[in-house]
Symmetry: C2
Subunit: 428 residues, 2 copies
């Protein structure tokens, strides 16, 4: 039995015919079915007959198109997880032409590349985009929101979004604001490509699928919790940040411990037969439960929202283009300040009807513009204080608030998806 | 003996006459001398005679002018520390007119406000600016560099720069690039004003003075190490960042432990009689020793250097003004990326002779543009990789490199003041 062979597989009374894929391992077989879907099966649980040798050149398949939908065979006993791919390293195969990594894959390739996913769930696979995430934009967020919504409406018990790590935090925030969800929406990615021994793609994918089966109806980011292969952290999508360029545990919940942690070994074993591996997940904080909210979507995001980072010595002309912006998030210094010379520009923007939200480049802690002269001048100019929102999250939220709410300032000051932490003291 | 009384003080054989200040405590007397200088003396070590009662209304003194120089009486047995004030909370007094904090003070007021500094050193006091540090700019950095240089040339054994916390990291980086120093240059500030019980101003000032007496010829930031009052951390000025809006331990060395730590209690006791409290300081990493380098200054900083933060969804027009920039530091995503649509603009800038340096908004870790298509395209466009430099530090360094070096790209890739960490692996 070799890759390329035509095989018949019998598992739990269901028989399928297809072509054995090269990514099959001693424990897992991956078979491409007639319809083009891939199915992963546990070697032990299946019986296999070779029908014909070497019928298929498996290496020269066309790259998937964005928008393609695929689905593997269905087992009623398993939960259904929708795998949505947007691109990035987790979705990439080595491109031998250039000697480096290039984004190209579809959800079936994930199953082919990660045989460990087999048996944990029924998978629906879907490609929304096929990009390095530095090329992510609000138009794709809208497509992604629609895709996630459709998948949940179609019965998915959880959604895993495969995404490049560069802008994952922005996209997770976009989903948190555009969707009300009764099931988990779990972003995962990979900091090291599959061709490297230290790749994190298998563990992140397995943990993400197990998290998507769990009792937590939030938008999460699931990535390595530390440099070991022991656990993945579950971060709330509106409070997470990529804080290192290359470490596998680059993602951190800012200003707090992650929402929870998922133990890899326990999750691997407990979830292998499709069971929900609740015992593998330790939640540290309150979170929405499965089914608590009804599925809903408000996918509109305003274009032209800018994130303006203040730095000393900057040319005030750098902010002239903000006149054309639909909204502005300023990443100021300290408690939320900019140079006095920039305050008239902010005032002009506000007078013009542009919402301007103040956040801090400190990243941790709350802005408070009641303490210093510059802060009070900014409040007088009409800025909206961003509380302890991350600048990146505030930018995405402002896109959403402009498109969907009457009172943008009020929306920005209200926690809609855990982006604002309750205030215990005015500021400490 | 009351504030406002004219007194004669004798200490270690030296007699002085002046007016007792209201900030005197049971342990420390603060006396304004004839020449206008303040001197703090240990109550126990001095004998005091009241010459005349209530000669001076001590509350309505004029605010000091920027550029004013003051010096207190000199004791040959003590090291000489220059206190340079630029403003900020550490230099502020409560302004009862508006009910909030406003920047107003000079170095003498520090001594008045912090009697604990008495006896540790001879102080030279100097006001370079009197601003909230959100209003800091390269022109003031040049003034500050000249002032620090003059103070060291005049014999200061160490310099303490009182500075607002908002932009302290930028100013510390500016001093690290513009000055070669044989003595410590220690920035300190305060996250809580003196009128709050949790104020950090006394401890930070005392630790900064003790650090300025120590055997470490670097530009340091000295601020609370944690939420207790046990120790201050000593951060290298080019690797430090204000990472919290309000915590007293907001400053962190990015990607590593601080250069060292100074134990408050030990420093307080061991340094009280002017001795160098070496036993109070634990250095964790290699650092320049006192006297190793000759004093030198290269204070020129190019104007028009911009820090451009990339965010998904941004209008490429936001970067049009960069055409007028002298240099650009990009804070890209992940390993150092921007949207493909922005790469032609970067290419045009480079073709025009503008140096463009890539750093990462992750803040920790090294950029590496050899892995992904977008990265290689950026390298082809001519960007200079910023290694693991903080974006803020890279911006200040680029100002300096443009003004002072022939080969800007080479300077940006070479560690000049500890801003680049040695590379052990290409990227992990
Ligand atoms: N630059 C890639 C890195 C990754 O896939 O994680 C991206 O964000 O798409
Ligand atoms: N906004 C003030 C805060 C402080 O003094 O620390 C400043 O940076 O000057």
């Amino acid at each position: 039995m070799n890759p390329g062979d035509r095989v018949r597989i019998e598992r739990a009374g269901v028989t399928n015919e297809g072509v054995l894929m090269p990514s099959s391992t001693a424990e897992h077989l991956v078979v491409k079915l007639e319809g083009g879907y891939n199915v992963g099966v546990d070697r032990e649980a299946a019986s296999v007959d070779v029908l014909e040798s070497d019928v298929h050149a498996v290496d020269d398949e066309p790259a998937p198109e964005a928008g393609a939908v695929s689905e593997i065979t269905f087992d009623e006993d398993l939960p259904t997880i929708s795998l949505i791919s947007t691109g990035g390293t987790i979705a990439s195969t080595v491109d031998y032409r250039t000697g480096a990594v290039t984004a190209r894959f579809d959800a079936e390739d994930v199953l082919r590349a990660v045989p460990d996913l087999a048996g944990r769930a029924n998978y629906r696979g879907r490609v929304v985009a096929n990009i390095l995430s530095e090329n992510m934009d609000p138009a794709i967020w809208r497509d992604l929101a629609h895709a996630v919504h459709e998948e949940i409406a179609a019965g998915a018990d959880g959604v895993v979004v495969m995404h490049g790590t560069d802008t994952m935090q922005y996209s997770a925030a976009a989903m948190a604001f555009t969707l009300e969800t009764p099931v988990p929406i779990v972003f995962t990615g990979s900091q090291r490509s599959a061709d490297r021994p230290s790749s994190d793609n298998v563990m992140n994918a397995v943990c993400a699928v197990e998290a998507a089966k769990a009792d937590c109806a939030e938008v999460l980011v699931c990535m390595h919790a530390d440099e070991s292969d022991d656990a993945c952290a579950l971060h709330r999508g509106t409070r997470v940040r990529k804080n290192h360029t290359s470490r596998r545990d680059a993602f951190e919940t800012v200003g707090a411990k992650p929402l929870g942690e998922i133990d890899y070994e326990t999750a691997t074993e407990a979830g292998a037969d499709g069971a929900v591996a609740d015992e593998a997940i330790a939640f540290r904080r309150e979170h929405a439960s499965r089914g608590e909210a009804d599925l809903d979507i408000a996918p509109d995001l305003a274009d032209g929202v800018e994130l303006a980072t203040f730095a000393p010595g900057m040319d005030p002309a750098a902010w002239e283009h903000l006149d054309d912006a639909a909204g502005v998030v300023v990443a100021g210094t300290g408690l939320g300040h900019v140079h006095t010379d920039l305050i008239p520009r902010i005032e002009a923007l506000v007078d013009d009807g542009t919402p301007v939200v103040m956040t801090s480049q400190c990243l941790e802690g709350r802005v408070c513009d009641r303490v210093y002269d510059t802060g009070r001048d900014l409040l007088d100019a009409g800025i909206i204080e961003g509380g302890d929102m991350l600048p990146e999250t505030a930018m995405v939220k402002l896109m959403w608030a402009i498109a969907n709410t009457e009172d943008v300032a009020d929306a920005m000051r209200t926690s809609l998806a855990g982006e604002l932490t309750a205030e215990s003291r005015p500021w400490r």
